[in-house]
């Protein structure tokens, strides 16, 4: 059987405040319909790995889109733009939620969409995924090792004019999307205690969730080009991700093209 002829590339969408921003989209072949997934990149930016992960989602039958949350700091190469965003202190939660909503709205309005929409994020994007599960309209969410869901009580008071970042854990009562959490037990942010405390709050509020904790894995263990990559744990966790989406977004359409159609 052939692999699906995924199409991918950069498009322009409307994000927060109607701003035009870049997004990387990957789509299975054919007219669908496909469930959609918005992928939220981490603090180092809209990098090659986030594009690979977006294509992986499409390979498995989802129309996927990764909005470039630092678009407004461009133009330029994604790494240089990320450096500018870093120097400016990153981006605020309200803007990120607006961009994520814009990406989801874009997918939903495409003729190939089933209308079902998931979200996934890694690291800082995991934290933002948690927020999106609380504040936006998603059918399933996957938080991969999002740090800061429970803010550090010892963190310095933000300087006047600093970007507003919410306390995600305090938004939990608003959570509508079923949440899958993927964590490494050697991670220090979130550490196992923070993960346990987050789970306790989800449980207390009766939310639909499923947490998976992996021994022998730390932070960012999906990244194949980093020493922290853990093949066994990552492979299992990706299986959990696709099972979660199939359960809550519906089964993706078969994406393998019949030989006669090629």
């Amino acid at each position: 059987m052939p692999h699906p002829a995924v199409t991918s590339g950069t498009i322009q969408i409307h994000g927060h405040n109607g701003d035009q921003i870049e997004a990387y989209m990957a789509k299975p072949p054919g007219d669908g319909p496909f469930p959609g997934v918005v992928l939220i990149h981490h603090m180092p930016g809209w990098d090659e790995w986030c594009c690979e992960a977006t294509r992986k989602l499409a390979h498995h039958g989802y129309a996927a889109i990764a909005p470039h949350l630092f678009s407004r700091f461009g133009p330029g190469q994604p790494d240089d733009i990320a450096a500018k965003a870093r120097a400016a202190g990153g981006v605020g939660d309200e803007q990120v939620m607006g961009d994520v909503k814009g990406a989801a709205d874009f997918l939903r309005t495409q003729s190939f969409s089933t209308g079902k929409m998931g979200v996934i994020g890694f690291c800082s994007g995991g934290r933002q995924t948690y927020l999106a599960a609380c504040l936006l309209d998603f059918d399933a969410a996957v938080d991969c090792w999002g740090g800061g869901v429970i803010p550090d009580p010892n963190a310095a008071t933000p300087a006047p004019g600093a970007l507003v970042r919410m306390s995600p854990i305090e938004q939990t009562d608003k959570m509508q999307a079923p949440l899958l959490g993927i964590f490494g037990n050697d991670d220090r942010n979130p550490d196992p205690e923070q993960v346990n405390n987050t789970e306790a709050e989800l449980k207390r509020l009766g939310k639909t969730y499923e947490f998976h904790r992996y021994d022998g894995a730390g932070h960012g263990f999906f990244a194949v080009d980093r020493p922290g990559y853990r093949s066994e744990q990552a492979t299992d966790a990706w299986t959990k991700v696709f099972a979660w989406y199939e359960k809550h977004l519906g089964a993706p359409s078969p994406v393998l093209e019949p030989a006669a159609a090629r």
Binding site: H42, M43, P44, G45, D47, P75, G76, D79, D80, A82, A83, K84, R86, A87, G89, G90, C123, S124, G125, W145, G147, R165, D187, R188, N189, G218, H219, G220, A223, D225, R226, P227, G228
Partner: protein, 117 residues
Amino acid sequence: MCTYLTEKTEIFGSAKGPTGWFNVDTATIYFDHPYHAPLDHSLNIDFVNEKDGSPVRVAVELSAESARDLVARILSVLESGEAAHLQIGSVGAVVEEGGHAIPNNAETADLATSATS
């Protein structure tokens, strides 16, 4: 983990980027996931000209160990280099291959000792 912890400091000097030399006035320093280095976390420095708003930067991503070693060596070179130039400025010196200043008389040697102690 991704952090928003970033230090910025004013600097004065030049850096060479893809389009040639340019003035730099700011260094942004952070310890987080690298963009390119095959590390989980790295000490990252961006040298930029913020005043001009130039998009050009010179960036490095270093392992924590090598960054600490670099800091120590920078301080060491600064100390010995400034001491050497102090000699040149005050009583003159010859410089051997490799850039190390050699005092040209005993009096200068005493000065060098006092400057680096």
